[in-house]
């Protein structure tokens, strides 16, 4: 690509940025009232969770989160369908191994804490799952070819756990004569906790498996 074209693209991008700022800055100054935010904060006692972001993710927009977990699962299936992973890295030296022996349990502990804390303060399934995934990445960097994940059938189970828990809860609620994922107020907190726990494990396993980057050995073709 020649220099003149690059310059033209840079100029056009700058114009686009200026236009975006021209829209964004006056919008901030007028500070429109958000009816959605009011409704979200007002209905929070019905959901049994104190953290409004968790209430949005797991209650009001539970469909959205279910489909998001499905996106995660679909990405992992795509990665697995592209063949085996690259070979494992060489085994870590003594210093890195000692650090991994400390860091991985801490990451798992912090992930569990974030999952529980997500009910009241910032935290939740995605943050906890990200930490579990990070533990898998650290293990893989230290030379574990499977990133700490169990054998292939268990990986499949773990990866589909989030979508599975969501769908089972939804179907049971349908069977009880309610709408799909319309939690009764009395159980809302516990149903959300069950779904979030399953989602944390699923997100952690999916991220670690995605980092491995290929179908686990032992799978049937």
């Amino acid at each position: 690509m020649n220099g003149r074209l690059r310059l033209l693209i840079a100029l056009l991008a700058a114009v686009l940025g200026a236009a975006l700022l021209w829209v964004f800055l006056p919008l901030l100054a007028t500070r429109p009232e958000s009816a959605l935010a009011k409704a979200a904060l007002a209905a929070r006692p019905l959901t049994g969770v104190g953290n409004p972001v968790t209430a949005v993710l797991l209650d009001y927009r539970a469909y959205d989160t279910l489909l998001e977990l499905a996106v995660l699962l679909a990405a992992l299936l795509g990665i697995w369908s592209l063949g085996p992973p690259t070979p494992a890295y060489q085994r870590a030296g003594a210093a890195l191994r000692a650090m991994i022996a400390w860091v991985v349990p801490l990451l798992v502990l912090a992930g569990g804490y974030l999952l529980w804390a997500g009910g009241q303060v910032p935290g939740g399934a995605f943050q906890g799952g990200a930490l579990l995934g990070a533990a898998g990445v650290v293990l893989r960097l230290g030379g574990d070819p499977h990133a700490g994940l169990p054998a292939e059938p268990w990986q499949r189970l773990l990866a589909s756990l989030g979508v599975g828990a969501f769908v089972i809860v939804g179907l049971v609620l349908l069977g009880l004569g309610r709408d799909f994922l319309d939690y009764p107020s009395a159980w809302a907190k516990w149903l959300i906790l069950v779904i979030e726990s399953a989602a944390t494990l699923a997100i952690g396993a999916t991220l670690a498996a995605a980092y491995v980057g290929g179908r686990p050995p032992g799978g049937t073709r």
């Binding site: 991008a13 901030l28 959605l36 904060l41 927009r61 980057g213 290929g214």
Partner: protein
């Protein structure tokens, strides 16, 4: 409070534009992928800036959207990385005049 919010959102716009420029100008797939992720970060910045409402608690809906967006972006990036590695194994992308 408003200047801080404006600064944060404007940084998002700058990130978006930088990412867009890099995406259009650079040919290697890995650089394009990083550029798309930077564009996404810019959009997340904007959403978080819009969620701030001064003295009231921040609007939780954009926060939830950003959380959703991060997870989708990470999984799409992982899939794209594996695709580009397979493409590399198969002899690389077709060369053009870029």
């Amino acid at each position: 409070m408003i200047p801080l919010q404006a600064l944060y959102g404007s940084a998002g716009v700058v990130l978006f534009v930088l990412g867009l420029w890099s995406f259009l100008v650079h040919a290697p797939l890995l650089r394009k992928l990083i550029a798309i992720n930077i564009m996404g970060s810019g959009v997340f910045h904007l959403l978080i800036a819009i969620a701030e409402r001064g003295t009231e608690p921040p609007d939780p809906v954009p926060h939830a959207l950003v959380l959703t967006g991060i997870v989708v972006a990470v999984s799409a990036t992982a899939l794209a990385l594996v695709f580009s590695r397979r493409l590399e194994d198969a002899g690389g992308p077709p060369e053009d005049e870029c």
